[in-house]
């Protein structure tokens, strides 16, 4: 179905812009993500018709309507299953799944887990704003304990789910985190996700400026970000802080934020990040402000596991290899008998 003989046009972001008016609230973090996605796609070496955007239900799930690609706005929570079917039928398509925290982690939690453990080659953008926006402000599965919303007037008593830890536990082979307004990291991470053969998961801290404004400001704002987050670079030490003088050390098996130069800590003591280390990734996924910086970038990448759809295609090809399939024989079955002449 793919047409490799066709030349690859030089695309611009506007080539991926559909004629539909964008209907998100002014100031919504989704605009920034949309802009980054339109900016990233021309760099991915794919023809426009190979992209399919799939979503569930929610504000973020309107995403496909705004992309001049193939797209499906499906039903609540089930986008991973639709995306799986698309990849099974045509592994050559580049399938992107864009949806929110309520969609992918609450009603669709089951499917999110299974698309990851199967390693279906879809790229998932989870736009996490820690709130239900489209239904006007109920707490979501990522809302913090004590969150006061329309449905939790005395504060939420739910423990929030940790999307990165969930992805790692679900055997996801590419796990990353970005911030909506940080276009540079987001497009770079998308490029890496697009090159990953299996399931790629990117959590995006996204601001809902109507129902949960500033939820991520500690991580997204210029003045706060350096001290509250750490940018992950494979092979580099976990150093952060506006003066680049802070780091993460493992002390007694646990991560601890330290200042280089204080208490005898040198740069040599700082933990070096290895994106192929799943145990380390799990440790980083569980670092939360204010005690520890929250990691940004690619936490974990394991590109060697075959994608699910490729394994499925391979089984079919192997089964067909000897060319022994005879449809009439199949219908005849093992035993037939004659009646009459």
């Amino acid at each position: 179905m793919r047409a490799p003989d066709l030349p690859l046009p030089t695309y611009k972001p506007k080539d991926f812009t559909s004629d539909q008016d964008v209907r998100w609230c002014p100031g919504c973090g989704d605009y920034a993500v949309l802009a980054s996605v339109r900016k990233a796609l021309p760099k991915l070496g794919r023809r426009k018709e190979e992209f399919v955007f799939v979503s569930g239900i929610g504000c973020a799930a309107r995403f496909p309507y705004y992309m001049e690609t193939y797209g499906m706005h499906s039903i609540h929570g089930r986008a991973p299953a639709f995306a799986t079917g698309i990849k099974l039928a045509n592994p050559d398509l580049d399938v992107w799944l864009v949806s929110g925290d309520g969609d992918l982690l609450s009603i669709g939690g089951n499917h999110t887990m299974h698309v990851m453990r199967r390693n279906v080659g879809v790229r998932i953008l989870l736009l996490n704003n820690r709130i239900y926006g489209l239904t006007k402000g109920q707490y979501s599965p990522t809302s913090e304990r004590g969150k006061v919303t329309k449905s939790t007037p005395m504060g939420s008593i739910d423990e929030p789910v940790n999307p990165l830890a969930l992805a790692l536990a679900a055997e996801c082979t590419f796990v990353a985190r970005c911030i909506d307004i940080d276009a540079k990291t987001l497009t770079a991470t998308m490029e890496r996700a697009a090159a990953h053969p299996g399931c790629a998961f990117i959590e995006v801290y996204q601001d809902c400026n109507i129902f949960n404004h500033q939820a991520w400001f500690y991580a997204s704002q210029k003045d706060a970000r350096p001290n509250n987050t750490v940018d992950l670079v494979h092979g580099e030490p976990l150093i952060f802080g506006e003066n680049r003088d802070k780091g993460v050390m493992i002390v007694n098996g646990r991560p601890r934020a330290v200042t280089i130069g204080e208490g005898g800590v040198t740069e040599e003591d700082i933990l070096v990040f290895d994106e192929t280390d799943r145990t380390l990734a799990f440790t980083l996924a569980n670092m939360h402000c204010p005690d520890l910086p929250e990691p940004l970038g690619v936490l974990y990448c394991h590109p060697d596991r075959p994608a699910y759809e490729e394994a499925s295609r391979t089984q079919i090809q192997d089964a067909q290899a000897d060319g022994s399939a005879d449809l009439q024989k199949l219908v005849d079955g093992p035993d037939t008998w004659m009646v009459g002449s």
Binding site: G71, S74, A81, A83, T84
Partner: protein, 631 residues
């Protein structure tokens, strides 16, 4: 104590009989399904017509000897065409007291019961709910009503296999083959096919030749017991039936669905992707298709019923044939996604092998209670194509028809089967696959930038269907989704009049299929005052009842529906011809409600909902009553 067999004079030639129903009944671990299946193959080899009724509990290995663990397999075979597994049984093989208790009521008066007397111990009697001194084998009333043959079956099998070196547990697993051997002797059935099967299955496939040998010995011992015992003085012969000339095979409904789906994919020139979640009694579809990857079939065991239908829709969106299969509870879970498929106007096939509901209900028992769910079980007005298979072999053509209609109308097709035809088997004249018409599917071609923009919801005038544009095709990039679509452009639209128009368009394209489906045919006394109308897996029972009544001089016309949405175009006209319309169903009157509502016909029902197919006797009585209801 060894049971001595005494020699006796050779039995006279077998007495010819026209039809026989034999039921093997025992614990669910006793191998009754296997014995029944082999006995069916023997009927096929003898050229009989046959119909089978496997009846098994949901418990895989219920506690031994309990009534809820009883598994049965009924084989009805005949020297003439038959259409049902039979009402009353001529021979019951009861492997223990529980099997005796649960099945004795179905044995015809004067019928034979072969019981393993060694299993009628105090303990087992108690487990079956009999008193310790209350063995039914010694019951005088039962003894007058039936011919009860007690056989020291377990002892004889243990004796015959005492040299095998195997433990009692292994040896006792061969009891079913003794029973089969004995019944084969009674009905003059050859042992060779079963011997060959045992050697191939246990010997070659499982690499346990010693188990094959043990079973063969038990089988032969059963036959030899028949030859020597005086308890069974008579053998019977059931001659070949006069079926239309041709090449036949044995087939069950689930097997036929698997084959039909594979053939449909080939005829459409597309890969079939079957996305399923295990559920009784539909799991065999997943198992069957998973074994046919060499035919290019893809199978996907999803994480749940919703993911199964959603992935099937994803497959169809990407240009494949997405199929999912389930039973009633699963269809309920798929409802929302099916509504989306109606909105997206994508072709998928949903097989519902109906079982007794609601909720978990009786998972291994049959029912026709999902008809209205298939029609209406979605939010909003979301019509789907609805078809129903009428017999095990009819599942083959119905599967191909479902793919044909779904792809023509760009709409989900729900195919209703049921537990009785899914597991029941019958002879099937094998079709010539090359003679089955192709399924024509045309996808829109690529557009260049200079062309007009692609309009995903522009329709084909003849079919009313939108075009099936596949991702990967240059220039056809478009978005689909669950929000209401603007006619032609497919843009999101909240416009009221447009919504009403789209609802009508989605219904109309299904109605238009009536132009390409065959008109309904009426059988029997076409000019009679009464029409018996059926749908789905009850066809055989209804035909048998109608034919019996006509034989008794009652004037009756009958017709059977495969297409339920849309109905055949001549249905209304036919209904109008009859003074009475009687609709037998294994539900409380679901088709009747539709017929009444759509055609203003005062249809009467015959409704038996007991987890099994109709008995011909009760249908005859029901039809008679319904005829009397209104003169």
């Amino acid at each position: 104590m060894t049971h001595q067999l005494t020699e006796r004079p050779p039995v006279s030639e077998p007495t010819p009989v026209e039809t026989v129903a034999v039921r093997f009944a025992g614990d669910s671990g006793d191998g009754m399904q296997l014995a029944g299946g082999q006995f069916t193959s023997a009927a096929a080899i003898r050229g009989n017509d046959f119909a089978t009724f496997p009846d098994y509990p949901a418990e895989i290995r219920a506690p031994r000897g309990t009534t809820f663990g009883v598994s049965g397999f009924q084989v009805h075979f005949a020297a003439k065409p038959i259409h049902t597994p039979g009402d009353a049984i001529d021979v019951l093989v009861a492997m223990n007291p529980a099997a005796f208790k649960m099945n004795v009521g179905d044995v015809r008066q004067g019928g034979m019961i072969i019981a393993d007397e060694d299993e009628f111990t105090k303990v087992n009697l108690k487990k079956a709910g009999y008193g310790p001194e209350e063995s039914p084998l010694a019951d005088e009333i039962l003894g007058q009503r039936y011919r009860i043959i007690t056989v020291p079956l377990s002892r004889m099998v243990r004796e015959a296999l005492s040299e095998s070196g195997q433990g009692v547990k292994e040896i006792d697993r061969c009891r079913n083959m003794f029973a089969l051997g004995l019944v084969c002797w009674m009905y003059d059935r050859p042992l060779e096919p079963t011997i060959n099967w045992l050697q191939s299955y246990f010997g070659d496939k499982k690499n346990r030749p010693e188990v094959a040998d043990m079973n063969v010995t038990a089988l032969k011992t059963g036959w030899a017991f028949g030859e020597t015992t005086e308890a069974i003085p008579q053998r019977y012969a059931v001659a070949a039936a006069e079926l239309p000339s041709g090449r036949y095979r044995k087939i069950s409904g689930n097997e036929a669905l698997v084959l039909g789906l594979v053939v449909a994919g080939k005829k459409a020139g597309k890969q079939v992707s079957y996305c399923g979640y295990p559920i009784t009694p539909a799991s065999d579809l997943l198992h069957g298709l998973a074994n046919l990857k060499r035919f290019g079939v893809q199978t996907f065991q999803a994480e749940d019923e919703i993911a199964a239908v959603a992935s099937a829709i994803g497959v169809s969106y990407a240009g494949g044939i997405g199929v999912t299969g389930t039973s009633g509870p699963g269809l309920a879970l798929k409802g929302e996604a099916l509504g989306l498929a109606v909105m997206l106007e994508l072709p998928i096939v949903v097989v519902d092998v109906q079982r007794a509901g609601p909720a978990t209900g009786m998972p291994t028992k049959t029912e026709q209670t999902d008809l209205l769910q298939a029609f209406y079980g979605r939010s909003g007005e979301a019509p789907c194509i609805v078809l129903a298979a009428s017999s095990p072999s009819d599942c083959f053509e119905t599967a191909i028809e479902a793919v044909r209609l779904a792809t023509r109308a760009m709409c989900p097709a729900i195919l209703l089967s049921d537990a009785s035809i899914a597991n029941g088997a019958e002879p099937w004249m094998v079709p010539d696959v090359s003679a089955i018409p192709e399924i024509e599917i045309i996808h829109p071609e690529a557009l260049s930038d200079s062309d007009e923009p692609f309009e995903p919801y522009l329709r084909n005038e003849e079919t009313g269907a939108r075009r099936w544009a596949i991702p990967g095709t240059p220039g056809l990039e478009h978005r689909v989704g669950g929000l209401e679509k603007q006619d032609i452009t497919g843009d999101v639209s909240y416009d009221g009049p447009n919504h009403q128009k789209m609802l009508a368009l989605r219904a109309e394209k299904i109605a238009k299929l009536a132009n390409v489906i065959p008109p309904m045919e009426v059988g029997g006394d076409v000019g009679a005052e009464t029409l018996v109308l059926g749908w789905g897996g009850t066809a055989g029972a209804i035909l048998s009842a109608v034919e019996r009544m006509r034989g008794d001089g009652v004037q009756l016309a009958y017709a059977h529906l495969r297409h339920l949405n849309p109905f055949p175009s001549n249905l209304g006209e036919i209904l109008g011809r009859y003074k009475r319309v009687i609709i037998p169903e294994i539900n409380s009157g679901q088709l009747r409600m539709l017929i009444r509502g759509m055609f203003l016909v005062d249809a009467r029902g015959v409704n038996v909902i007991q987890g099994r197919g109709f008995h011909v006797d009760e249908l005859v009585e029901g039809i008679q009553n319904a005829m009397g209801d209104k003169s």
